[in-house]
């Protein structure tokens, strides 16, 4: 009698990697931030925030790999472990939530109307309309 086939570790590893990627991408707003700071990783949130699109893309790729591994394991006749499947599904949910979160509607600070699409003529008009006041113009990159 042959020994039982080893559990498909690839799917589990992929799921965990996807979860870690998403946690890194979300570290800007989850309570994970203070924990990282407490551990001496000040600035981690800002760093991961700037990498957010790439980290989420990586998470999706890793998830796809995880599903492929799980599917392959079944085709090979190996039994899937409930724990691995559960982690894979949880990871999928978390990655989906992270993607939805990154496209969440903008919340403007109090007293502001949000971000307006730039139009040169109306900007010049606004600038001149406030000509009796002190004005500051700032040009910034979002990340």
């Amino acid at each position: 009698m042959s020994p039982p086939a080893p559990p498909p570790r690839g799917a589990l590893a992929s799921s965990l990697a996807a979860v870690l990627s998403v946690l890194a991408a979300l570290s800007c707003c989850l309570p994970l931030g203070p924990f990282l700071l407490a551990a001496g990783f000040a600035g981690a949130s800002g760093f991961f925030l700037s990498l957010q699109p790439y980290v989420i893309a990586f998470a999706v790729l890793i998830l796809a790999f995880g599903f492929a591994q799980a599917f392959r394991a079944r085709k090979c006749g190996r039994r899937r472990r409930v724990f691995n499947v559960a982690v894979l599904l949880c990871s999928t949910g978390l990655v989906a939530a992270a993607i939805l979160f990154s496209f969440a509607p903008l919340i403007a600070p109090a007293g502001q109307s949000g971000v307006v699409a730039f139009d040169l003529a109306s900007f010049r008009e606004s600038f001149n309309a406030a000509a009796d006041r002190t004005r500051i113009v700032v040009l910034l990159s979002p990340t």
Binding site: V116, R133, V137, L139
Partner: protein, 123 residues
């Protein structure tokens, strides 16, 4: 820094523009929340229209428009400029009372200029 300036008439125009590889969409709530001041208006300029206008004006008056300390990139960014009352934008983008980039390098001088501008003027 804006919290230290009590002038309720101050107007702040914040123009976000894509510069880095990670600027793949308009600023989200996190970026916008960095400037919570109610005197600010925030814009998203994906085509660098204001940057081009500033560059054009700087061709004839580089120090006046871009400041003493400036970056030599194609896109004007990480840039701050202060305009006192009376300055109008007519043909070209106007010269500033103080301007400079990157912000982190000029912020102390900028703060001094802004506070001086906000203090009562001798009659």
């Amino acid at each position: 820094m804006l919290r230290t300036v009590r002038d309720p008439n101050l107007r702040v125009f914040v123009v976000w523009e894509p510069v880095l590889l990670t600027d793949w969409h308009a600023p989200g709530s996190g970026a916008v929340a960095r400037i919570p001041d109610a005197r600010a208006r925030q814009f998203w300029d994906p085509k660098h229209l204001l940057s081009a206008e500033i560059r054009r004006a700087a061709q004839s008056n580089e120090t006046g428009v871009l400041g003493e300390r400036r970056m030599h990139a194609a896109v004007v960014w990480d840039f701050v400029a202060l305009y006192p009352p009376g300055v109008r934008w007519t043909a070209a983008f106007p010269a500033a009372q103080f301007a400079g980039a990157p912000v982190v390098r000029v912020i102390d001088d900028f703060r001094q200029q802004l506070l001086a501008e906000g203090s009562p003027r001798p009659s």
